[in-house]
Symmetry: C2
Subunit: 203 residues, 2 copies
């Protein structure tokens, strides 16, 4: 499709490079922006520019932060004896949203995926090992990676790397999901939830 | 969800205002941008800023353009006796992509939709009437609006407005779509395609 304006073409091209956005959707988004106030679109542009200029990563847990140390690592009320290892920032947000976790995090920035050419050296795994070795307060490391082959591989790699340290290594419970119907639960999950069954406490 | 950086928060907020993009998708897009080269993201920001500063609309047909007159209106090889009335820029691109139309366009910038508070005065209808009245070369106006209630209402409104002028007013053929199975074609379309049946020419 031949676009009638070079400025339109450029903006559409940039939107179409985003994951999950094709050229037709990109065009729809850009034409939507054209109908908005110019100041709104300028603010959008400024937010992108500010983002790459100003965003930093916490030097302790590698979560996105505006400061050198993120709000979670800097908070004395959090439990600094527990480190929850997650793949990315979204997973931190997902766990924070549960309001069930008061410890700190360690954001790997991805998982080991040979298919995508991502090895351990591309992730914040060495910094995790160093952090655990140098901070005697840390008692437990929770491996909270997605229950996929890549996630399990990464978990096992980290488990071996930390095996020389005195920390307890745990992982998320696996089993049937809340409100899922048993008949539609996959065999692996259901089988594992039987093997890992636990005392019924009426809740 | 509490976002750990104000810059991240701002960028996510702007993406989430786009149609069809929720906060989770916005977060995914922004985190994708953070993994890209800073210069790429700066170029993205510049493209948005340039867009609102520089994009113009053709003074004849109101299509998006970089000049005062768009490439189609300025092209002497196009058939300037025919004007195709469309709702928006995407429709121009869709018709151009067919390579079946050599005339000019008139972009209304929307369709009459009382539910959304859009009346004839919000669209480029008066400018179409003036254009047809003042340009004696125009012999035919094709009403190429979507076959919806709003599209039909708008077509009828324009038809009445142009009824005093000597131009021929036509509209797109309606019927069964190429490669659609008859059994799944809706009754209205199928019924209309029987009433509007045409001589079989073997193509």
């Amino acid at each position: 499709m031949e676009i009638p304006s070079i400025y339109l073409e450029h903006a559409v091209g940039h939107f179409a490079q985003l994951p999950g956005i094709g050229r037709k959707t990109a065009m729809r988004l850009v034409l939507h922006l054209l109908r908005r106030e110019a100041s709104d679109v300028e603010a959008f542009a400024t937010s992108l520019s500010d983002l790459v200029k100003n965003v930093r990563y916490c030097h302790v847990c590698h979560n996105i932060s505006d400061e050198d140390t993120c709000a979670i690592c800097a908070n004395p009320k959090r439990d600094h004896t527990t480190v929850c290892v997650v793949e990315n920032v979204q997973d931190v947000l997902a766990i924070e949203a549960t309001q069930q976790y008061t410890g700190t995090y360690h954001v790997l920035g991805g998982i080991i995926s040979p298919m995508d050419g991502i090895g351990p050296q591309d992730l914040e795994i060495q910094s995790l090992v160093t952090r655990v070795q140098s901070d005697a307060d840390i008692k437990e490391v929770i491996l909270a990676l997605s229950p996929t082959m890549e996630g399990d591989t990464t978990s096992f790699y980290i488990y071996r790397k930390l095996s020389g340290t005195p920390v307890t290594i745990t992982t998320l419970a696996r089993g049937v999901a809340q409100n899922d119907l048993l008949q539609y639960t996959d065999e692996l999950t259901l089988g594992r939830s039987i093997l890992d069954r636990r005392p019924f406490k009426g809740n």
